[in-house]
């Protein structure tokens, strides 16, 4: 038995070889533990080599006795054990440190695993709403899934890595900072962490992914991005997202960055639906995975204002620099690790967005205790507590100009129709009636339109095309739900493509089999590049092919409308270009 009191194996005669190994191991652990940790350990701590531990258990602690599997000690039997290069020697050291972490946690100076802040950082839920909802959803990119057992094991596993890994602080920055504040810095040399945050972002509507190296110092502000409900009653609660106001390269961070829309990114919790049919039962009961997506702002603007015809309000959060950095760090952690379950009541986008903010910076949770469930309710609460500043919304026109409000395209259509109607005696009374005409009947008016009317007719024709797309989609959904061979085959193709797209929903899956945990470091990134290219290529080939197939299968009347609308759009674009070019 090796006693903690022994500084070094100045071993008494008769001590067994294993005791000598245990003493060397303890000495090696001592050399690596932060001083506070070492001092917090009780006197009389002993390491005892054992043969009777259950299979798969390397160490176990009873009071002040740490039992270690005798076989683990073999690499430490000589004086040359090298845990930095010999995995077996490292395993023994990690096992001992794990047990010492339990001892520390139980000591009067410990209490790490009971600390609410640790539990937030680690992903243990604060309240258990439903049975089975108490599990830790931070499952992705775990160094050792044993950490998900309970908060005590989480602390022990993470302290192993905190002490032994030179890059723990780069992989789990928030946890490393918290451990550092509680028990002091690790004694081993640390590799410097770069400032960039690795994220996978959606690129384009087909689910392609790109690597985004986010530089937090380029993020000027974070806005609460709220998608308003439209007149469909079921969407009236809206949607919660966060907008990162990222400055264009070369621009000094400041208010000017607000117009760098092409560089802004959106953090959005969404359920990932892996099939063509949606089940409301799965939606209610947590049957769909919910994950944190990173999307270009302009894609999100188009998705809402053009496709869904909903407006977006962007309300600045009043976060200081530290809070912005903390939110970004938390977002990166969730992006790689979070594997939640969408639940209509308990875990929807508003709840998850709020948890992201609150868990990122405890000061936010101190200023606001929000217990609601709706995106609109969260916005109101954020404004009431001064965490969000909605003053830019008062002047709608200015808000639109400055990027605080993105109006639904719907609001434009009537205005566009009136412009065209003033120039031409169109055979319709409203934008709606105009779009209801067969595309062929709209065509003759286009050749006579002046610049302004051409611009207006182009936007209206694009609306006609989107309407046609929705019709095609509805037809397709019904078609894919049928049971003949062609529909089943097509459905299989959709599922295959969704499996590739699913990576966007779970970035960690892209790194399956690649060693490493937490935020991916340079080595993992290079391993990812090829996988990413393969998947992107399959998606870029697969969806257009499937669309072409679907389009060929559309009823003849829809196909004709398609062709005519496309001909109209070609005509209008050419005409607009020519008229604009000729204008002074």
């Amino acid at each position: 038995m090796a006693w903690l009191a022994l500084a070094m194996p100045a071993l008494a005669a008769g001590a067994s070889n294993d005791d000598a190994a245990a003493a060397r191991l303890l000495h090696a652990a001592h050399a690596r533990l932060p001083e506070t940790w070492w001092q917090a350990l009780p006197a009389g701590l002993a390491v005892e080599p054992r043969d009777d531990l259950p299979a798969h258990v390397g160490g176990r602690t009873f009071g002040t006795h740490i039992r270690i599997d005798r076989r683990l000690l073999a690499p430490w039997s000589g004086g040359t054990a090298d845990p930095d290069h010999d995995p077996a020697a490292r395993l023994a050291l990690a096992t001992l440190i794990h047990e010492l972490a339990h001892v520390l946690d139980r000591s009067p100076h410990g209490g790490l695993s009971r600390d609410p802040r640790l539990r937030d950082l680690a992903g243990w839920p604060q309240r258990r709403l439903l049975p089975g909802r108490g599990a830790n959803a931070m499952r992705g990119r775990s160094p050792d899934t044993y950490e998900l057992t309970d908060p005590r094991e989480f602390v022990a596993v993470n302290l192993e890595h905190y002490v032994l890994d030179a890059d723990y602080a780069c992989r789990r920055p928030a946890l490393a900072a918290w451990f550092r504040s509680r028990i002091g810095p690790p004694r081993a040399a640390q590799v410097p962490c770069g400032p960039l945050m690795p994220l996978l972002q959606g690129e384009g509507g087909d689910g392609q992914l790109g690597w985004l190296s986010l530089d937090p110092s380029r993020v000027y502000a974070i806005d609460y991005l709220f998608a308003e409900g439209n007149d469909v009653p079921m969407s009236r609660w809206g949607h919660s997202m966060l907008r990162l106001v990222i400055c264009a390269p070369g621009r000094v961070p400041g208010p000017d960055c607000r117009l760098d829309l092409a560089w802004h990114r959106v953090l959005s919790f969404r359920a990932f639906v892996d099939d063509v049919q949606i089940s409301s039962w799965r939606g209610l009961t947590g049957g769909y995975p919910s994950r944190l997506f990173v999307l270009p702002l302009e894609q999100v603007i188009d998705e809402y204002t053009q496709v869904e015809l909903r407006s977006l309000a962007s309300i600045p959060l009043t976060l200081d620099r530290d809070a912005i950095d903390a939110v970004l760090a938390r977002a990166a952690q969730l992006h790689w690790a979070y594997d939640g379950r969408y639940a209509f009541i308990g875990n929807n986008c508003a709840v998850e967005t709020w948890k992201l903010l609150r868990d990122a910076d405890p000061r936010i949770g101190t200023r606001l205790h929000w217990r609601g469930i709706t995106p609109k309710g969260l916005l109101a609460a954020l404004e009431r507590s001064g965490l969000a500043d909605g003053s830019a919304q008062a002047d709608r026109a200015a808000a639109e100009r400055q990027g605080y409000y993105f109006a639904s395209a719907q609001s434009r259509y009537e205005a566009m129709f009136q412009v065209a109607r003033r120039a031409l005696p169109l055979p319709a009374e409203s934008a709606h009636a105009w779009l209801d005409l067969p595309a062929r009947s709209r065509a003759p008016w286009m050749a006579q339109a002046d610049l302004r009317a051409t611009a207006a007719l182009l936007l209206l024709e694009q609306a006609a095309q989107r309407r046609q797309e929705l019709l095609a989609r509805d037809w397709l959904k019904r078609r894919l739900g049928q049971h003949d061979g062609e529909a089943m085959r097509a459905r299989g193709q959709v599922r295959d493509l969704l499996a590739d797209a699913g990576v966007l929903a779970q970035p960690a899956a892209l790194l399956d089999g690649v060693p490493g945990y937490g935020l991916p470091q340079a080595a993992e990134r290079s391993a990812v590049v090829e996988r990413l290219a393969t998947r992107n290529w399959r998606l870029a080939e697969g969806w257009p092919a499937l669309r072409a197939q679907a389009r060929a299968a559309l009823p003849a009347s829809q196909r004709v409308q398609w062709q005519e609308i496309e001909a109209n759009l070609d005509l209008l674009r050419q005409r607009l270009r020519a008229l604009a070019d000729a204008a002074p």
């Binding site: 690129e203 384009g204 509507g205 689910g207 790109g210 985004l212 079921m234 969407s235 949607h239 829309l261 092409a262 969404r270 359920a271 990932f272 949606i278 939606g283 209610l284 999307l295 270009p296 302009e298 894609q299 188009d302 998705e303 496709v307 869904e308 209509f344 986008c349 709706t374 639109e400 100009r401 400055q402 990027g403 993105f406 434009r412 205005a415 566009m416 610049l451 611009a455 936007l459 694009q462 095309q465 046609q468 797309e469 929705l470 095609a472 989609r473 397709l476 894919l480 493509l497 797209a501 929903a505 969806w543 499937l546 669309r547 679907a550 389009r551 398609w562 759009l569 270009r577 604009a580």
Partner: protein
């Protein structure tokens, strides 16, 4: 009945992938969202191309409908072309439409 799921927007790929670009991307809006890390056009060009629909609305409404995307493109034009500094907004918007 898909009501509950619509509380928050979903990432329903069949919908977005099959519908939003069923006919290939149209000029302007839907092709604008891709990031600066892909494609051959520069970020500057993307800002201009992304603003074309909004420039059309601006020209059609004779300057009434102004969006942030248009403002970004006007700023871009003026920053990259000294001749554009003095030009009025409508003239620059027309230039975007002629691209």
């Amino acid at each position: 009945m898909i009501r509950p799921l619509l509380l928050c927007a979903l990432f329903i790929l069949p919908a977005s992938a099959l519908a939003s670009s069923f006919a290939g991307t149209s000029a302007g809006a839907s092709s604008a969202g891709s990031s600066a890390s892909s494609g051959s056009t520069s970020g500057d060009d993307k800002v201009l191309m992304a603003a074309r629909d909004d420039a059309a609305a601006f020209v059609a409404s004779d300057g009434q409908l102004r969006s942030a995307r248009l403002e970004a493109a006007l700023r871009q034009l003026r920053a990259s072309d000294s001749g554009a500094v003095q030009a009025d907004d409508l003239a620059l918007a027309r230039r975007l439409l002629a691209l």
